[in-house]
């Protein structure tokens, strides 16, 4: 019995050895007379899953604290300290990865790539700040997001930007979000992570060009406060939506606004909405604006159609961002490169045993995804533009000084400027 068992065991071992992928195992192991024992290769473990879960809890705690500081405690000081903590923990210690901003792409990939599994901690990083924004405003931006925090610390001489520039810049994050999702969903690239300007600073180690990018953003931020958050951040778009309808949002004044104007220059992000003179609301202007508003509302589907058409038309161009498509096209348009022994990408492809037909087939599948995705992206961007244009004629009623719920980062700077004391 023992004999046959050991034989089976031996047989199994040999089957592994020979049917195995590598099939080149030494056999039998050399018998070292000198008593040498073969070491086994070390395998340093990745950061443990428990630590990742800890990160989620730190995020949860920081979000809660930030919300409490902004809404209940009304403490700019507290948010400042929290910012510093976040820069140290999420920034320098966790080296900026994975962050909620980048998690957009993981979620997008999980939706569109059936083979991809998103890890639950990343999903939590994506969802938690949104849920908090829905209830408490953008407390994530206030002092939790390391990217926001590092810029926030360097707001030195913020200038107020004309509103037409601001409105134009408002569109860029939508563009960035749209393309980030399109590129992630087609498995092309994670552009948010690739061009994260501060990650090189947090790691204190990056290609020099990325360091320059980070420094450029920080320099810019000295005058145009939080440039990444306001003009790029794709996650900010989602937070903006959530925060707009947030249940409890930070307020400038602890009690009733006395319209003293003192807070007006306090916001470096131009996120304070000032009261609108009621005298301007004449019957005539109201009627005019309502008419324009309705016309532009009707035009929105046209915007969407035009956008979808334009971007899906551009799918050939856009799909070149995908390395497979690019390679296929490169080899078709420049057949002489196939003989170029210096071109590693082409040579490696040729040696891989994959045929040109397979590559072209794969590339055209990806291209079709771009075409389809282009319609969605274009329609989305068209919708955004349409709504933005339409909102130009929205008659806001504004009689007190209030933060713009969507754009406000809940940084709590304005509170210190408010002379009103809370009535007990």
């Amino acid at each position: 019995m023992k004999n046959s068992l050991s034989k089976i065991f031996l047989f199994l071992i040999f089957t592994f050895l020979f049917l195995g992928v590598y099939g080149q195992n030494r056999f039998p192991k050399p018998e070292f007379d000198s008593g040498y024992e073969q070491p086994s290769p070390t395998k340093p473990e990745p950061r443990s899953n428990a630590m990742e879960i800890l990160d989620v809890f730190v995020l949860l705690a920081a979000l809660s604290l930030s919300s409490w500081l902004a809404i209940k405690k009304r403490s700019r000081q507290g948010i400042l300290w929290l910012s510093i903590f976040s820069i140290i923990y999420f920034g320098f210690y966790r080296e900026g990865c994975v962050c909620s901003v980048g998690a957009i792409q993981n979620v997008a990939l999980a939706f569109f790539d059936s083979g991809y599994k998103i890890s639950l901690t990343i999903l939590a990083f994506f969802l938690l700040p949104l849920i908090f924004a829905l209830f408490f405003g953008r407390s994530f931006c206030a002092g939790v997001c390391p990217l926001g925090a590092i810029q926030d610390l360097l707001v030195i001489n913020p200038i107020s930007v004309p509103s037409w520039i601001r409105k134009t810049l408002d569109f860029v994050p939508y563009l960035y979000l749209g393309f980030a999702v399109l590129f992630a969903a087609t498995g092309t690239d994670f552009i948010i992570c690739r061009y994260d300007p501060f990650i090189g600073i947090f790691r204190m180690n990056a290609p020099y060009i990325m360091i320059i990018l980070g420094i450029a953003f920080l320099l810019l931020g000295m005058f145009f406060a939080r440039p990444y958050c306001r003009a790029f951040c794709p996650y900010g778009v989602l937070l903006n939506w959530m925060s707009k309808v947030s249940k409890w949002h930070m307020t400038i004044t602890p009690d009733e606004c006395i319209k003293c104007k003192l807070c007006e220059p306090s916001c470096p992000f131009d996120a304070i909405e000032i009261p609108i003179d009621e005298k301007e609301r004449t019957e005539d202007t109201v009627r005019k604006n309502v008419r324009r508003f309705s016309i532009y509302a009707i035009l929105i589907p046209l915007w969407m159609l035009a956008g979808g058409f334009a971007i899906s038309k551009a799918h050939v161009f856009l799909s070149r961002a995908n390395p497979d498509v690019f390679l296929a096209e490169l080899m078709i348009t420049n057949p002489e490169l196939i003989d170029d022994t210096e071109n590693l990408d082409i040579q490696t492809f040729l040696e891989s045993g994959k045929t040109m037909e397979q590559l072209v087939e794969e590339a055209s599948v990806i291209r079709m995804k771009f075409k389809k995705g282009g319609w969605f992206l274009g329609a989305f961007l068209g919708l955004v533009i349409g709504v933005m244009v339409m909102n130009q004629f929205k008659m806001r009623k504004q009689d007190i000084y209030e933060p713009h719920k969507g754009n406000c980062f809940s940084c709590a700077r304005c509170m210190d400027f408010c002379p009103v004391e809370k009535k007990i």
């Binding site: 050991s6 034989k7 031996l10 040999f14 050895l17 099939g23 080149q24 195992n25 030494r26 056999f27 039998p28 050399p30 001489n157 200038i159 061009y195 300007p197 060009i209 990325m210 320059i212 990018l213 450029a216 953003f217 320099l219 810019l220 005058f223 145009f224 961002a321 390395p323 690019f326 390679l327 490169l330 420049n334 490169l337 210096e342 071109n343 590693l344 990408d345 082409i346």
Partner: protein, 320 residues
């Protein structure tokens, strides 16, 4: 700073940011990525001077789905064994005989009177109709039989598992064994880091055993005393590299050796009896990279047959 100069500064910085992103994106595409600063061209070692190649592939016989392990050539027919079979195929590909085996046949030796098949731990004698005449098992459980050869009436069995050559009578009687060890420096014993351990008897009735760990071919007397050897370690075409080469050998009628190597450079070469490289049969380009060493056999007309495990075919090489 005036508002104007701040505005200009902002514009400049935005310009820098956009330029960086565009430059990085465009500068990192398959048509303009930098060269490998750590280029190591091993291709030049794989390349073989065409004037050295004296053979050409004249024929190949695809094997289909079977997993072949060993081969021998006898009177123009090809005998192969492998996962649970023993087959005889004519050169035109027609199957003459098919015998099922209980286990995987690893090596094979065909003589006038019988066919000897080596399983991992068993030796089986068949007649030419496929009937079992006799079978026996070596004593040790770690036995791993890799090759068979016969001289007069003595069967030499290469046991890679125990680094020894066993001797048997044809009825299965154990006569003796040797491990290639001797007092002299040359006689280190067989070094077999992977299950490749081949032996042949040439037309002068000399027993040659490969010592793959030393890149050596060693000539032994019937009793297992080392009579002579040559070794050739080199990264160049003249020698063998890696842990265990040559992995397979065969002999031509003039006593020259046909060697087959495994690993990064699978190739078949011919060495003189004294170990001089004479010519190349097949360069690495003919084989799969990092492939298995083909089993090589020679027929009476000095035509070389190679069992290519990676391409799953028998390839025939003849002198140009």
């Amino acid at each position: 700073m005036s508002k104007k100069s701040i505005g200009i500064l902002i514009l400049v910085i935005i310009g820098i940011i956009i330029t960086i992103i565009i430059l990085d994106f465009l500068g990192n595409r398959p048509n303009n990525r930098g060269d490998n600063p750590y280029e190591y061209n091993v291709e030049e070692f794989k390349a073989v001077d065409a004037s050295l190649i004296h053979y050409k592939e004249t024929k190949n016989i695809p094997l289909g789905d079977i997993i072949a392990r060993g081969m021998d050539i006898f009177k123009g027919d090809i005998y192969i064994t492998g996962q649970n079979f023993l087959q005889v195929i004519q050169i035109n590909g027609v199957k003459k005989l098919n015998v099922e085996l209980e286990e995987t046949g690893i090596c094979l030796l065909v003589k006038e009177e019988f066919i000897i098949v080596g399983l991992q731990q068993k030796i089986i004698l068949f007649d030419h109709e496929g009937q079992i005449l006799n079978s026996w098992m070596p004593d040790k459980e770690t036995t791993y039989i890799t090759s068979l050869a016969m001289k007069d009436d003595i069967l030499y069995v290469a046991d890679a598992g125990n680094r020894r050559v066993l001797r048997y009578n044809i009825d299965g009687t154990y006569i003796g064994e040797f491990e290639g060890k001797s007092e002299s420096e040359a006689g280190h014993g067989f070094i077999i880091p992977s299950p490749h351990f081949d032996l042949v008897v040439n037309s002068y009735d000399e027993l040659w055993v490969v010592n793959p760990g030393k890149h050596a071919l060693e000539n032994y007397t019937d009793e297992g005393d080392l009579r002579g050897f040559w070794e050739s370690s080199s990264m160049k075409i003249e020698g063998f590299t890696g842990c265990c080469n040559p992995a397979e050998i065969a002999v031509l009628s003039n006593g020259s050796f046909v060697t087959a190597e495994k690993g990064g450079m699978v190739r078949i070469k011919i060495y003189s009896q004294s170990g001089q490289l004479e010519s190349v049969v097949a360069a690495p380009e003919k084989f799969v990279e990092e492939g298995k060493a083909p089993e090589v056999k020679v027929d009476e007309n000095d035509i070389i047959y190679a069992l290519d495990f990676d391409k799953k075919m028998i390839r025939v090489f003849e002198k140009k």
